[in-house]
């Protein structure tokens, strides 16, 4: 029997009424004060998807696509205008407090920690808020301290922590009550490469070991590739793609990168669909348009010119794949 979905959204709609002051002089200002002019901005437009328990899903889209709004609706912070939303069988807008015990949220650009106090104080407060018994709280905190390497920073005021340390504390804080789902909104924003790697590893491990469902928004494809197995792409509040990352690559992969280390100092490969990206002594980097040429053809052509010492074939970066998807959506929306 299939487990009930952890998250199920059907035809979710959410719009905001944004004030747009009328331009002009005194009269316009008076009008803006007494009768403000508002514009309706559709953030989410008939969005539907479901997530199984334990899945790690990346939720991707350009700025303003509706990702954060969707997460806030799922967490019960915002009320949907239309559509149905169920998280762990609960209706977030109506059962927010009940749901809060079972989900965790991390908003990368916001903080749930008290800036002037050490993380230990926030953890103690959250223990009360989430009604965690004393011994259980100590056990969870010890486990998270060990897993997230928080020991040396637990008693340091948050304002003295680095961004990476703070983010580890934020994620630990959101996991303290052992939630079944974690909603993460850009958890690695602003972090350096090594801090990002640590956060990704921690998230992956927490989900894999404890079966925590992850829904993660990020503009960093490294987060998506290293943490998630499935990607949902939205654009202007609408679903563009929902499926495994590998399928997304296959569907939108139009090029491959081929690097050839040859015995000959230079290779002259002038084939249709092949572009030389860079060429150094004994090393040539090529981009192969797969609809025109195959990688095998290019390798054959290189071997015909010189013995080959080594070669590497890479997919186009996921960034490029997602950009292609956005571009297609933009083209589609401008046509319609």
């Amino acid at each position: 029997m299939r487990a009930a979905p952890a998250v199920e959204i059907t035809d979710l709609c959410k719009a905001f009424h944004v004030r747009r002051p009328r331009p002009g002089g005194f009269v316009a200002r008076v009008q803006n004060f007494f009768r403000p002019h508002t514009q309706t901005v559709t953030a989410v437009d008939r969005l539907s998807f479901s997530i199984a328990p334990g899945e790690r899903v990346a939720f991707v889209g350009p700025n303003g696509a509706g990702k954060s709004t969707t997460l806030k609706v799922l967490a019960g912070i915002l009320q949907p205008d239309a559509g149905s939303v169920r998280v762990l069988g609960l209706e977030p807008a109506r059962q927010r407090r009940e749901l809060a015990f079972r989900v965790g949220t991390v908003f990368g650009q916001r903080s749930q920690l008290w800036y002037q106090l050490p993380p230990r104080d926030t953890f103690a407060l959250l223990g009360r808020v989430y009604e965690i018994a004393g011994t259980e709280h100590r056990r969870r905190l010890d486990a998270l301290t060990a897993a997230f390497g928080l020991g040396p920073i637990l008693d340091t005021p948050v304002r003295q922590l680095s961004l990476g340390e703070r983010m580890r504390c934020e994620i630990a804080a959101s996991l303290l009550h052992a939630p079944r789902i974690l909603f993460l909104d850009e958890p690695t924003i602003g972090l350096d490469v090594s801090a990002k790697a640590v956060i990704r590893e921690l998230l992956h491990t927490e989900s894999a070991q404890n079966g925590v469902t992850l829904l993660l928004t990020s503009h960093d494809t490294g987060d998506i590739e290293r943490v998630c197995e499935r990607v949902i792409v939205i654009h202007r509040g609408r679903l563009l793609w929902d499926g495994p990352i590998a399928h997304l690559r296959r569907r939108y992969l139009t090029t491959k990168r081929l690097t050839v280390w040859s015995e000959a100092e230079r290779l002259e490969l002038q084939l249709p669909g092949v572009r030389v990206v860079s060429s150094d002594a004994f090393r040539t980097e090529l981009e192969v348009a797969l609809d025109v040429a195959s990688v095998g053809q290019v390798i054959d052509a290189a071997l015909a010119q010189s013995p080959v010492r080594d070669l590497a074939v890479e997919d186009a970066p996921l960034d490029a794949v997602i950009r292609a998807l956005y571009a297609e959506a933009e083209a589609g929306s401008s046509e319609s």
Partner: protein, 264 residues
């Protein structure tokens, strides 16, 4: 059991706020210094007025103790509206809204936590300054009554500031509202002078507002040197507290329904 657990959550918020207040002592010291200055200035002023033979309808020493009490209440009430506005402006409010706890309840508990640190320190400062400038202490029974009633009054003011802070869900800047309400509190609350000294029309107008129970009410025990009517004041404070609580609840309910989180 559930009620105890719910109460313990809000106590935890209050405790965090007290920890913050104890760490951030600079603001408290600033308020204590301001206290000493303002009482020094006004005690000289009331003395000069009395010596000049102008009728001020009360003993200058009583007026200094009255002012010490009203200033104590005003300075003890934490300006929670500013913190709320910043949280709403930055969008940090989103982290708090996702918790299994009432947002306004937690904010008010934090305000009470701050108040619990400020009020005793500032009360001691107020009494010490008032004694230093007058060389006199009012009867202890009415003076002691000002403590619980003054604390309740400061809590009412904090709740009113909380309501002002919630307006940040609609307004870009709530400080104009704060300034207007604060000036009304100063005037109709009787910050500088007892309301009994106001013109009749002003007294009637003040009676229709919640402000007298926030300042003049508790301070008048010092003035009258009597503990009479304390229960009436406590009931009036409770009634206005209910009204403010309703306004806060309604504002938050409206805000949650039409919430727009700044910054995505």
């Amino acid at each position: 059991m559930r009620t105890a657990s719910a109460v313990s959550k809000y106590i935890a918020f209050a405790r965090v706020a007290t920890a913050l207040a104890r760490r951030d002592r600079g603001e408290l010291y600033g308020r204590m210094l301001f206290f000493a200055v303002i009482l020094g200035v006004f005690s000289s002023l009331w003395r000069a007025v009395a010596e000049a033979g102008m009728p001020i309808a009360a003993d200058p020493r009583l007026l200094v103790w009255y002012l010490a009490t009203t200033e104590w209440i005003i300075l003890s009430a934490p300006p929670v509206h500013a913190e709320l506005q910043e949280s709403i402006r930055r969008g940090d409010v989103v982290c708090r809204l996702g918790r299994p706890v009432s947002y306004v309840g937690a904010a008010f508990a934090e305000a009470l936590g701050l108040l619990a640190v400020r009020a005793p320190v500032l009360a001691a400062t107020a009494w010490a300054c008032a004694f230093a400038f007058t060389g006199w202490i009012p009867p202890l029974a009415p003076l002691a009554l000002t403590l619980p009633l003054g604390f309740a009054a400061a809590a009412l003011i904090a709740a009113m500031y909380l309501w002002i802070g919630l307006l940040a869900f609609w307004l870009e800047d709530v400080s104009p509202v704060f300034w207007v309400v604060q000036k009304l509190l100063f005037v109709f609350g009787g910050l500088m002078l007892p309301i009994e000294l106001y013109p009749r029309a002003m007294q009637i107008a003040a009676a229709w507002t919640p402000f007298p129970v926030m300042l003049a009410g508790p301070a008048s025990f010092v003035l009258r040197q009597s503990a009479a009517d304390s229960l009436t004041l406590a009931l009036e404070q409770a009634a206005w507290g209910g009204g403010i609580a309703f306004a806060v609840w309604w504002a938050f309910r409206r805000a949650s329904a039409t919430l727009t989180i700044n910054g995505g």
